[in-house]
């Protein structure tokens, strides 16, 4: 995804600008928003695609991906059949072939089977996306008798999500952290949290080394200020580049997401993230049935399994439904601001244009879509 005229310290907005003229609507006059280079990028990618390994290279642009996808499905189907015959030979699929098994257990086995061999969500057509979502909902019903709703809503046109954090306002209440855990069905046993609130000493500046991101005392503590971090949804995300199977990617509305069913759990992305944005399921995640948030999205808060990566998705199940992420809604001080960077009337744009904003580790060229500012 490296674009050739990348400006490291620019606000890389307006990615989806349609006109090809140099002018763009990102509200920046520096010309570094990267919108103008869009068409070049596509041809570059297409060219590289053709040049490198027609057989194993992976489609990055969606235009030409149908043809390749057809081939892939064929191969996968062949593989599926092959494995199936092997397993049947070993008698390992007794349930799915058994005549005695009830309809439900047969259906469950059928679903598990389909799920095990489905493709990468990123490359699925909308029908296939719906198919897998339906299967997951049905499988949950079969197993627990409860009904969840799961969305596979795609990114909308002309939307690019961004986030701003007001350091002056944050008091370290951690309501955002709790709201996030509840909203996103994170594992309760390991107390997984996407958000970390760093408590820093006044007069020391942004000194993360001496900050405490694991405090248990009354806040706001005298002589301290607070700063939250989470996945910054980088516009040039290193975590996406390194994934060997493209199980994690940047969606068109800027969200960096993970397909939990495609991830192989190598944790390379975790090593590549400079912002401590990723979390791994070291054991089987557990949420008490009563606490499960049943309003889910395939790429968001649906139930995960052990051995896969997960992370903040800006609450894709909420943000794509026009709501604010749970952390924004929960914050009692109004320190958190979320919105569409391409909408000139949004609050987030107002903040970016009127406040002195900065981002963390800008020298790394990751272009986070998460800004900090002070009143």
């Amino acid at each position: 995804m490296s674009n050739n005229n990348k400006k490291w310290f620019s606000l890389n907005l307006g990615r989806k600008e349609k006109e090809s003229s140099g002018a763009c609507g990102c509200g920046k006059t520096s010309g570094g928003c990267g919108a103008a280079s869009q068409s070049d990028q596509m041809t570059d990618a297409a060219f590289a695609e053709a040049a490198i390994h027609a057989s194993i290279g992976e489609e990055k642009n969606k235009d030409g991906f149908e043809q390749v996808f057809d081939v892939k499905m064929d191969r996968r189907t062949a593989f599926k059949k092959l494995t199936a015959s092997l397993l049947i030979g070993a008698g390992a699929v007794s349930t799915s072939c058994s005549v005695i098994g009830g309809d439900e257990s047969k259906e469950k086995a059928q679903i598990d089977w389909e799920e095990q061999f489905k493709g990468n969500y990123k490359l699925m057509t909308d029908e296939e996306k719906n198919g897998t979502v339906d299967r997951l909902v049905r499988s949950y019903q079969l197993r627990t008798g409860k009904t969840i709703s799961m969305s596979s809503k795609n990114a909308e046109e002309d939307v690019l999500f961004g986030y701003a954090f007001n350091i002056s306002k944050c008091q370290g209440y951690m309501d955002c952290v709790n709201a996030c855990v509840e909203e996103n069905n994170q594992d309760r046993n390991s107390e997984m949290q996407y958000i970390r609130i760093h408590e820093m000493k006044d007069g020391k500046g942004f000194n993360f080394n001496e900050a405490d991101d694991n405090y248990y005392h009354e806040v706001p503590a005298e002589g301290h200020f607070y700063m939250g971090t989470q996945c910054f949804h980088c516009d040039n995300p290193p975590c996406v580049e390194v994934c060997p199977v493209q199980a994690t990617w940047r969606e068109d509305d800027g969200l960096v997401v993970v397909d939990y069913d495609w991830c192989v759990g190598c944790r390379y992305c975790m090593a590549a993230c400079p912002y401590d944005g990723r979390r791994f399921n070291w054991s089987k995640p557990e949420v008490p049935e009563a606490e499960i948030n049943k309003n889910q999205h395939y790429l968001g808060n649906r139930m995960r399994k052990k051995g896969v990566m997960e992370k903040c998705t800006f609450c894709v199940q909420r943000s794509r439904a026009g709501k604010n992420p749970a952390c924004v809604e929960a914050c009692p001080t109004g320190a958190r601001i979320f919105g569409n960077l391409l909408d000139p009337d949004s609050t987030i744009r107002w903040v970016l244009e009127n406040k002195k904003v900065f981002r963390l580790k800008e020298d790394l060229g990751t272009e986070p879509k998460f800004w900090y500012f002070m009143d």
């Binding site: 490198i52 057989s55 990468n120 390194v242 190598c266 090593a271 070291w282």
Partner: protein
């Protein structure tokens, strides 16, 4: 058809050799089998409960497995230091050593792959990584490069010795026209596997400890010291336990390779230390943690302060011809060098990359018993495979294993 028959007979003969041997041999194999079974048991626990049974956490997300993987890629790459002179430069001295070296490469590579799989959270969906069936993020992800080069190297290192042994088995000379191109290719390939493995870490801007241009070259230098050092030790053992004749000259030449590589490695280490400690920056903290500990957290100190003196001592001893030519000293040096580099390039490289964390958090890592069990199991697996390969190869080279035309009926 004939080839097939020869192959069948080769398999049968080698099965015969590897199941027969002295008492010591049987004890050794039983010991390794026990190690493997323990490893498998530990791995089954890991499969059931997830990677939470290891010492790894969100803060230090790679540990013992990846450390060993990194080190073993180096061992595998080092076989090439013997391949080149033998096949290409027609240096007869190395001929016997090279088969052993390639056997070592094969077992090291299998161990590498085993370590990677042990480290995966979802081994059951590993097919997602198979090009064509899954999605292979090539060329963006260095991990896919690594998969390609490691498997390619494995293929080369199986086919070349197999061809040679297969010819010798039938009492024929191996045609140099056939294997020399392969041998030359594997020379470049070996450098490739190690460089690519270094790039795996070097390419991460998030981890300043790794994101350093010296990492790749240093990987190579330390690999070409540790790998041949292991080969010397193995040759010494083979020499004393089998009929296989390995001349002193051969061992001395390999010792030369070890020495030069160890010296270069030491120079690079000094350069690295200078950069980290003369004008320390925020990015030097990992090195500080490794060598001196940070905030009273110092789990790696005993390791690194064992490794550095051993490394220096071995390099200094090896530098003097007199000492190096004394086999007792040589074997001792090879052993301590091997241990030193294992620490430096395993634990000493992988763990500090994560400490301090992206926001300065210092969370330490200690491997658990299960993790150690799996690790030992994989090492046992490697040793087991190597023993089988070496025993067959030695049998063929000594002429004990020979294809007899009419034996089959």
């Amino acid at each position: 058809m004939r080839r097939l028959r020869v192959f069948r007979s080769l398999v049968k003969d080698s099965l015969d050799t590897i199941t027969h041997g002295s008492k010591k041999y049987h004890l050794w194999m039983a010991f390794l089998t026990f190690g493997m079974l323990t490893g498998m048991y530990c791995y089954s626990i890991q499969l059931e409960h997830g990677l939470s049974v290891t010492g790894m956490t969100d803060r230090v997300s790679w540990g013992l497995y990846i450390s060993n993987f990194t080190f073993l890629v180096g061992v595998a790459a080092a076989a090439v230091m013997l391949v080149m002179p033998t096949y290409v430069l027609k240096d007869i001295d190395f001929k016997q050593a090279v088969l052993i070296g390639e056997g070592l490469a094969v077992s090291a590579l299998i161990m590498c792959l085993a370590f990677v799989i042990a480290d995966m959270g979802g081994p059951s969906v590993l097919w997602h990584m198979i090009p064509g069936i899954g999605v292979f993020n090539f060329p963006n992800s260095m991990l896919t490069w690594d998969v390609l080069v490691l498997n390619g190297y494995l293929f080369l290192n199986i086919t070349i010795p197999f061809y040679i042994l297969f010819r010798h088995y039938q009492g024929k000379e191996a045609k140099s026209k056939v294997y020399i191109p392969g041998a030359i290719l594997s020379v470049f390939w070996a450098v490739g596997i190690h460089l690519v493995t270094a790039f795996l870490y070097q390419g991460l801007q998030a981890r300043p400890f790794w994101n350093n241009a010296l990492l790749g070259p240093r990987f190579l230098a330390s690999a070409f010291a540790a790998g041949p050092a292991l080969i010397i030790l193995v040759l010494a053992i083979i020499r004393s336990f089998t009929e296989f004749k390995i001349q002193d000259k051969t061992i001395k030449k390999i010792a030369m390779v070890v020495t030069v590589a160890a010296q270069i490695n030491l120079i690079m280490l000094i350069s690295e230390l200078f950069k980290e400690f003369y004008a320390p920056t925020h990015h030097s903290e990992s090195a500080y943690y490794l060598f001196f500990g940070l905030d009273g957290k110092d789990a790696l100190l005993p390791w690194i302060w064992t490794a550095i003196p051993l490394n220096v001592l071995a390099t200094v001893l090896l530098t003097f011809h007199k000492l190096r030519n004394n086999f007792k000293v040589l074997f001792f040096c090879c052993f301590i060098l091997f241990v030193a580099i294992w620490i430096e390039k395993g634990f000493g490289l992988i763990v500090p990359g994560f400490i301090p964390g992206p926001y300065g958090k210092i969370a330490e890592y200690t491997p658990t018993g299960i993790e150690i069990g799996v690790t030992l199991g994989i090492w046992a697996l490697g040793a087991f495979i190597f023993t089988i390969l070496a025993k067959t190869a030695i049998g063929i080279e000594l002429g004990e294993l020979k294809y007899k035309k009419n034996k089959e009926n």
